[in-house]
Point group: C2
Chain length 295, copies 2
């Protein structure tokens, strides 16, 4: 190794590696449907889920290409959820990452179909992993994890809870449940699938799943905190977060200090789990970075 | 066997068997999302795809339960496509099979999420097949077929072509391409997956895939024909089909007689393929029934 790399540079490099893999697995078919899928996939973003998956896989000694279709697949599922979240019937967002959201660029019907097609293509892509390993049973288990955490026991359940509670004041446990499913589930899928593909025992899979859910909560509360501080900066004065909109967050529910405490506690619990593994340095730093980030 | 069963009774029995399997594989989770999924799945219908899959599997000597999660899975994918097709941005249908469409009964946001969740749950369900067989490689291949025929090379591509050509006059080859993908692909997936699960050689899979695509074309043109004759009966007088709406069909393009010829030719080609298999009686009758049906 050369000079010690600053963590943010290291993360950038890992994200670039994930990016290259994601692009390689995109469909090369012509036509509006594929164009809309690729438009959404090429919008950039942190590539957090594939980075987390690869990080877990490497931490546990994995070194094969079998993880790559899963890295692409989990990002396709995440992007599917963003496309559908932006639709008029859901969050009704015309922009994402500084450009038109997919349904604004390609029409609403094509936005719906492109989201569907990305979810389906994630499975087409993950199925390619069977050709890249001597351990098909690991691929089966990893696919079971990803599908379970994507659907009615995971992310999509969280989205439906979000829709149902849109105009209702939420209690702490409601918000926790929504964050756990809507954000935590795909992070848990990323770590658990990475772990299973590396051939880890069940206890490791379970411990890392719990750590990922803690990361999800910490990450999402950090979002709530940044939401308030960004608004304060924008306006040049302190505001109560509920002046901005009626959305319930951990900050509106518990106040800024308690929200910060919760983030720290969740991050500590997650890092404690990671400390059991000798090669956990990258993930420990990633967890700290994600829960202390300022943007 | 008792007395010779009339084919329609036999088909009813096969559909009831498929129904029982489909219901068994539905999620038993509480909440609006699962409720919306089950509402759509329990709307009835012919259960044609699972019946076709089981018929192919049995014709080739398959006798295990491994086909059952695939029967449920293909019907979930079909139902996913119906829910999303009915959305305002696509066909904007408030009713399906005599009751409110899913997004009218549960709201548009929940309609979108229920469609997503059914597509995902189809994969969760098919993955259960690994526990039901000594031949995991057959399950992998069957999943590859289903995902390929569902996505951007199959049904979803057909839907996107349908959306893109909505207000354009279509040529014969355009219409053929749309029917091939939108209807043919899932029928092909049903037969090919059934065949592969039964352990057939590649040539059989390919021959039956071609037969299923022919069935799809014949089935869809039969729809076009029934569309016109139903309108005639309704109005009590002959009409030109293009008086009814501006939709291009094989009848508007080629006239009634040529459309009937095309249906017959496609059905004949498909039956010719089936005649290679000694146990094909049920499928041959099913093909004939579907392409000559009067409702």
């Amino acid at each position: 190794m050369g000079p010690i790399m600053h963590f943010q540079d290291e993360l950038k490099q890992k994200a670039a590696e994930a990016e290259e893999i994601i692009l390689r697995y995109l469909p090369d078919k012509k036509g509006s449907l594929s164009d809309a899928m690729c438009y959404a996939m090429k919008a950039g973003g942190k590539r957090l889920r594939p980075v987390l998956m690869a990080g877990t896989y490497r931490m546990l000694g994995g070194s094969e290409k079998v993880v790559e279709p899963f890295m692409a697949g989990i990002e396709m599922i995440h992007t599917h959820s963003l496309i559908h979240d932006d639709l008029p019937a859901l969050d009704n967002d015309d922009f994402r990452r500084g450009r038109l959201s997919t349904h604004k660029a390609f029409g609403e019907a094509m936005g719906i179909l492109a989201g569907d097609a990305l979810l389906n293509y994630a499975y087409e892509t993950m199925l390619k992993a069977f050709d890249l390993t001597e351990y098909p049973e690991r691929v089966v288990r990893a696919m079971q994890i990803v599908s379970d955490k994507t659907g009615i026991h995971g992310m999509l359940f969280g989205q439906s809870e979000d829709v149902e509670n849109e105009d209702r004041p939420l209690k702490e446990e409601d918000l926790f449940r929504i964050y756990h499913h809507k954000t935590g589930a795909l992070l848990a899928a990323s770590m658990a699938a990475g772990a299973v593909l590396a051939g880890c025992p069940d206890e490791t899979e379970q411990a890392l799943t719990a750590a990922a859910y803690d990361l999800g909560i910490a990450f999402q509360i950090r979002d709530d905190i940044l939401d308030v501080t960004a608004t304060q900066e924008e306006l040049g004065k302190p505001v109560h977060s509920d002046e901005k909109n009626h959305k319930t967050t951990f900050v509106t529910l518990l106040g800024m200090e308690k929200a910060k405490d919760l983030t720290e506690e969740a991050e500590k619990r997650a890092s404690q789990v990671l400390s059991d593994y000798p090669e956990s340095r990258f993930l420990v730093e990633l967890f700290r970075y994600l829960t202390c980030r300022t943007a």
